[in-house]
């Protein structure tokens, strides 16, 4: 049981490359960054925890809460290292997860790839049973049929089992009967049923989500149990909670039951970190921008809350394209991810166009300037040539960068084919990568019915601060925040996440003959389920809040819009006001009210129960103020499109300096904040850096 007001908390974020640990105690923050120990991720965690506990001068028993996020589930799917999973489904529908939408992620390429299903055909079994869309049984399920499957499932070497029947969201009876039967006969199997994991209509997504859950469950369950035990042995008596894909926290037990909801919890921590920054600085409309080595992730934040979604794709196999991954229907923080990072490779295509990414040089061979065998130019090479990165002070000075190699690779692959100078081609590379990110952001915003131009950018991740002014120009944004502790942002975000749980259920209701009683019964059941999950993790007196949302559409449409409900029971006359709310919401998103020609319906409900979060703790900066000292360097200014003298200030000196006019570069161990000549940087008392626009970009005019 845990009190949300606990004073000493540790956040652990295991990523693919780094493991980040953050400890906060009595208003102070301590951090540790280690290489992830891939064969046993808990090893690095234990070392890191020990380090922050020592830094803080406390003992393990003083830690009140540990919050953990891991890419374990994501990686198991990407690398296909999950359990031997079998699937039992309705007769006639063996191939739902393989057939998918029958679409292609790209029109003209005849050599596209489609994702391999997590459960191969040989382990997909069917059984006679059928329920229709209203939940009536068309063909009953017989126990003898279940019995007959046991030897086949045994022969398939089943470790985990996904039970996925058509229309089980409308009536879960057959799935629960099958689950109970198999659980009794084979207690060691990890069993997931689709009406539990994702009770929504659309069979492909529901089945796919259920299979993914089963696929990662044995691995996740074992890992969490072992890690929990190691913590206890090391003297950490407190509870551990897990970060979920939607930015909420839950107990280890719930995480073991629904591990598919752990997917993307690391990036979710990053978004929560940005939300926390937004709240501290009272930024009501923000855009978080997290750019690392291979990808960039962007999230819309309104009123300190990240945009959420119910659709997600993991393990995309074709250029990060939609419809090329495994669809999951789980509550997630809605982020666009594109193949744009420091390692993204630049090249000229057959049309003479400069393109950047999604192919990445990764860490091996890495960018050309690493001198580790890479010869193709990357975004990092371009930034080096532009003078934005100091070759002798990069990534904790672990590496000295070779500017000449960067220039040569740019010459060969970009500058010469386009008949440009190396510096122009380097600028071109950064322009294209920023353009890609800006376009993805805009398309994402339009899909959500939102704008980008009235937002404040919150930038973190190694590559983000290098490009932030260019991106802001393209999105017509005037204010940028580079938060303190951006390097361990996700782990800090974990400490800010609320304990919460979301339950989602398809429940068709046409507003013209709205049955309030049925709707209330469903909502009450959902709230009880969410509450009992949250209560596992909080003390009995903790105040819980409930959020209820109806997903609605005009009858005949296919895409639903979320409409917030109050917490009062729905009255039978509520239909009219719901319709009005929906019409308004629709007009906000699509600019036209078509309520006169169309009637509305409810498709699903979502109920989220949240434990009252902590009051925001303002952490003092961990930077010590030193005397102002700065130098200058020549670098390329994107605002004037020419080389300029940039003021160079180490971040630790910047607080004393208070502010600096662009062009300037504020240097850190892991990255540099590039301030173009139309921005001014301000040191905030909170330790964050604020960039404010002072002018408009002047594009170099044609020489006519």
């Amino acid at each position: 049981m845990h009190d949300m007001k606990s004073t000493t908390r540790a956040g652990i974020d295991i990523g693919g490359t780094f493991t980040d640990i953050v400890l906060e105690t009595h208003g102070e923050r301590f951090t540790s960054k280690l290489l992830t120990t891939l064969n046993n991720p808990a090893d690095a965690c234990m070392v890191g925890l020990k380090s922050v506990v020592q830094q803080a001068g406390i003992t393990p028993i003083d830690v009140d809460l540990i919050i953990h996020g891991t890419t374990l589930a994501t990686n198991a799917i990407i690398e296909r290292k999950g359990a031997k999973t079998s699937m039992v489904t309705t007769r006639g529908f063996r191939d739902v997860i393989e057939i998918g939408t029958e679409g292609r992620p790209e029109q003209y390429d005849v050599n596209i790839l489609k994702p391999e299903p997590l459960v191969p055909r040989r382990r997909r079994f069917t059984i006679p049973e059928r329920i229709n869309s209203t939940g009536d049984v068309l063909h009953p399920l017989k126990e003898t049929e279940l019995e007959a499957l046991i030897p086949k499932l045994d022969k398939a070497g089943t470790e985990a089992l996904a039970i996925c029947f058509l229309h089980s969201y409308a009536n879960p009876m057959h799935e629960t009967v099958a689950r109970d039967y198999f659980a009794k006969r084979r207690p060691k199997w990890f069993i997931s049923i689709s009406s539990d994991i994702s009770p929504e209509f659309r069979e492909f997504e529901r089945f796919s989500t259920t299979c993914a859950n089963a696929y990662v469950q044995p691995l996740t369950s074992t890992y969490l149990a072992e890690f929990d035990a190691r913590l206890k042995t090391a003297g950490y008596q407190c509870q551990m909670m897990m970060m979920l894909s939607n930015g909420g926290l839950t107990t280890v037990q719930t995480a073991r039951d629904v591990p598919v909801r752990l997917i993307e919890s690391g990036p979710a921590g990053g978004a929560i970190f940005a939300c926390d920054v937004a709240q501290r600085l009272e930024i009501r409309k923000a855009l978080s921008f997290d750019m690392g080595g291979t990808t960039a992730k962007i999230c819309l934040i309104d009123d300190y809350k990240p945009q959420t979604n119910r659709r997600f794709e993991v393990a995309r196999v074709y250029r990060f394209r939609k419809d090329s991954g495994i669809p999951l229907r789980i509550p997630v923080i809605d982020m666009v991810e594109i193949g744009a990072g420091g390692g993204s490779i630049a090249q000229i295509d057959t049309l003479g166009r400069l393109t950047v990414g999604p192919e990445s040089a990764g860490s091996a061979p890495g960018p050309a300037c690493y001198d580790q065998g890479g010869t193709r130019p990357t975004v990092t090479d371009a930034n080096l040539v532009l003078g934005r990165i100091n070759p002798t002070d990069f990534a904790h000075s672990l590496l000295t960068l070779n500017t000449e190699a960067a220039e040569t690779s740019l010459m060969t692959h970009v500058a010469n084919p386009l008949n440009m100078s190396p510096i122009s081609s380097a600028y071109g590379v950064t322009e294209i990568v920023c353009e890609n990110m800006a376009n993805a952001t805009r398309v994402h915003a339009i899909e959500s019915g939102k704008n980008t131009n009235d937002r404040t950018l919150i930038a973190f991740g190694g590559a983000a601060p290098l490009h932030i002014c260019q991106l802001a120009d393209k999105l017509d944004i005037n204010r940028i925040i580079i938060p303190a502790n951006a390097g361990v942002g996700s782990a800090v975000g974990f400490l800010r996440a609320p304990i919460s749980y979301e339950v989602f259920r398809t429940h068709y209701q046409h507003l013209d003959d709205f049955d309030a009683e049925a709707a209330n019964a469903t909502l009450v059941k959902m709230e009880a389920q969410a509450q009992s999950t949250v209560k596992l993790g909080v003390s009995p007196n903790t105040k819980l809040t409930t959020n209820r949302v109806a997903y609605m559409r005009y009858h005949g449409q296919g895409h639903e819009i979320a409409v917030a409900l109050t917490n009062d029971p729905l009255e039978s006359n509520v239909a009219h006001s719901l319709k009005t709310l929906f019409d308004i919401e629709y007009k906000v998103i699509f600019g036209r009210n078509i309520g006169t020609i169309a009637t509305a319906e409810i498709v699903s409900f979502a109920v989220t129960v949240t434990a009252e979060p902590d009051a925001v703790v303002t952490m003092p900066s961990s930077y010590t103020v030193e005397h102002s000292s700065h130098s200058t360097r020549i670098a390329f200014d994107s605002a004037m499109e020419e080389e300029r003298h940039f003021t160079i200030v180490p971040r630790k000196n910047f607080l004393a300096l208070k502010s600096v006019n662009g062009p300037a570069i504020i240097t850190e161990k892991e990255t540099s904040v590039v301030v173009s000549s139309i921005f001014k940087a301000h040191a905030m008392p909170s330790g964050d850096i604020e960039l404010l626009r002072t002018g408009k970009r002047t594009l170099a005019k044609k020489t006519e």
Partner: protein, 574 residues
């Protein structure tokens, strides 16, 4: 800086493609028709003032895209750009002026900036019901197929033309979906316009004429270069299709000379008496798509990329019909053109072209209720449903590829997706009893053809219903390439095994179901060169039988499904 000019144009190019993508997303989000919102049967693009397409959304289906690109000039011929006013919106569904049948409606909106037209936005969506008989091949004249909207104002001053809407509402079965889709199409172009204006502002441009010319020229040159890289020659191919009453002979002669490419369909069968005929726009659309898949798949689609291929088809042939020939189910023939063209191109580029696939989609158009079924069946049936109309989009397998297996149940050349079964059953009294891969249907090959699927449809309580069949490849199979075997032919039948016709509306009696077995793709390369382990995997997954493994692939599997190495070696050396 002069050298940054090129870069700037490339940035605007990217931006325009993004703008039309946003345009397409808007229509997907707001459309009523299942075909648009769930299936993606749409296209969206931006045009310069001369009516040339500059960018087009990646989303969309090729028949629309390329045909829409051609149709804009008809709009500006009738309503010259200089006379367009803010708030004007135009539309048409004339098959000969736009996309080949009444269901595909094109909406065009001029974009104004500082009081001047700076470009045109267009989108085409498949509207499920435009009156007449509904989608299907049974008409003898186009007049039976629905209502024709000549190029006209859909709105003036931003106010929708109520006269037009009034006529449409009373001519269709589902007025709400039809009208809702029109609004979605208007919203789609509005979004594009907003984006274009912000682009002009940011880059300080007056219009997109100059940058558009650059985009079109670069794309054009790229395709030309690709053509030049193919060996000169005359490459012929032909294909036999089921047709409606008589089989249809499609004939293509592709001539490559320098950077010129001509695809001539001379010798192709006369028009059909039924609605499976193709108008020239649609013929061009799928021909160009086929060519560009092989030689220019990375070239963004615009006026420059689609005007390289010179497409010719004799007037009056099934690929270039005149009014009043019926055209409703033109996809059945039109979507075979990429395979037909592939058969020519494989002679010029043998290592780049996949084997034949199912080609045209298998889209059963269902209708239920008293008016939909034969009178005698209605009279004797104990149950009947209310009236309903619904179409699903389904596919067979694609052909094996030069380095990859074909894709099972994947749309090609069409780009549409299938709706979820649970969505269909929630909205209509239809019940899908089976939707599974069709085992053994993929043609054997070093790279196996993709598998087709089996779909089984019934109605609630066994009620009778009817289906407008518009399926092909039930007589002649998709051909393998370079020694690969043919894919399986399609089958249309009831669940008790009674064969049905591949074309035309037919009643499925009380308590019977419709079964569609869709064609598999042809194989690519000699199956005896396929990695034996992959053959074993296919057998384990029951995509092929152990018998097929031995007979077609020369891989001998033992009882426990391990490979009998010596027997396999012997079998393969035969």
């Amino acid at each position: 800086m002069e050298e940054l000019e090129i870069l700037r144009k490339q940035l605007i190019w990217n931006r325009l493609i993004s703008a039309v993508e946003e345009q397409a997303q808007t229509v997907i989000r707001t459309a009523f028709s299942q075909s648009v919102r769930e299936c993606g049967d749409l296209s969206a693009g931006v045009f310069n003032k001369r009516g040339q397409m500059v960018a087009q959304a990646v989303t969309g289906t090729p028949g629309h895209v390329n045909a829409m690109a051609i149709c804009i000039e008809h709009f500006i011929n009738k309503f010259p750009v200089d006379h367009m006013k803010p708030g004007d919106i135009f539309c048409t569904n004339d098959p000969w002026l736009s996309v080949g049948h009444y269901h595909d409606v094109t909406v065009v909106t001029p974009a104004f900036y500082h009081g001047q037209v700076v470009g045109l936005f267009a989108n085409t969506c498949h509207i499920v019901d435009m009156g007449g008989r509904g989608l299907g091949p049974d008409s003898r004249q186009v007049y039976e197929e629905g209502i024709n909207i000549p190029i006209m104002h859909l709105a003036r001053d931003g106010i929708v033309n109520e006269d037009l809407m009034g006529i449409l509402r009373t001519n269709v079965r589902n007025a709400r979906d039809m009208e809702g889709d029109f609004y979605a199409m208007i919203a789609c172009n509005d979004e594009g316009t907003r984006r274009l204006i912000s682009i002009l502002e940011e880059f300080d441009l007056d219009d997109i004429e100059e940058v558009g010319d650059y985009i079109i020229q670069q794309s054009h040159d790229s395709i030309r270069t690709a053509v030049r890289n193919l060996p000169d020659g005359v490459y012929e191919n032909e294909m036999i299709l089921d047709g409606f009453t008589d089989s249809i002979h499609l004939k293509a002669c592709t001539t490559i000379e320098g950077d010129q490419i001509i695809v001539d369909y001379d010798g192709t069968s006369e028009a059909s008496l039924f609605g499976i005929n193709v108008v020239m726009n649609f013929c061009i659309a799928y021909t160009v798509f086929g060519v560009n898949c092989i030689i220019g798949h990375n070239v963004p689609c615009n006026a420059g990329s689609i005007n390289v291929v010179d497409v010719r088809a004799p007037l009056g042939s099934i690929l270039n019909v005149e009014r009043p020939m019926p055209v409703s189910a033109r996809h059945v023939i039109g979507q075979m053109l990429p395979d037909l063209v592939f058969g020519c191109l494989t002679q010029a580029a043998p290592d780049k072209v996949p084997a034949e696939g199912a080609g045209a989609m298998w889209n059963p158009m269902f209708r239920g209720g008293p008016t939909a079924v034969d009178a005698d069946i209605f009279a004797s049936s104990p149950t009947i449903t209310q009236d309903f109309d619904v179409i699903t989009f389904n596919t067979g397998g694609t052909g094996g590829r030069p380095t990859l297996d074909g894709m099972s149940t994947t749309a090609f050349p069409s780009g549409v997706r299938t709706p979820p079964i649970e969505a269909i059953e929630a909205d209509y009294p239809l019940i899908v009893w089976r939707k599974e891969l069709r085992e053994g249907s993929g043609g054997a090959g070093r790279y196996r053809g993709g598998l087709g699927q089996i779909l089984e449809f019934g109605c609630k309580d066994g009620a009778p219903f009817s289906v407008a069949a518009m399926f092909d490849r039930t007589l002649a199979a998709p051909k393998g390439r370079h020694g690969g075997h043919n894919g399986a032919i399609g089958v249309v039948r009831t669940d008790d095994g009674q064969r049905l016709k591949s074309k035309g509306r037919q009643t499925i009696p009380y308590n019977k179901r419709l079964v569609l077995e869709m064609p598999g793709g042809g194989g690519y390369g000699d199956p005896r060169l396929r990695d034996p382990e992959l053959v074993r995997q296919d057998a384990l997954d029951e995509l092929i039988t152990p018998q097929t493994a031995q007979e077609d692939y020369g891989v001998v599997l033992m009882q426990d499904m391990r490979i009998n190495q010596s027997a396999t070696q012997e079998e393969r050396s035969k």
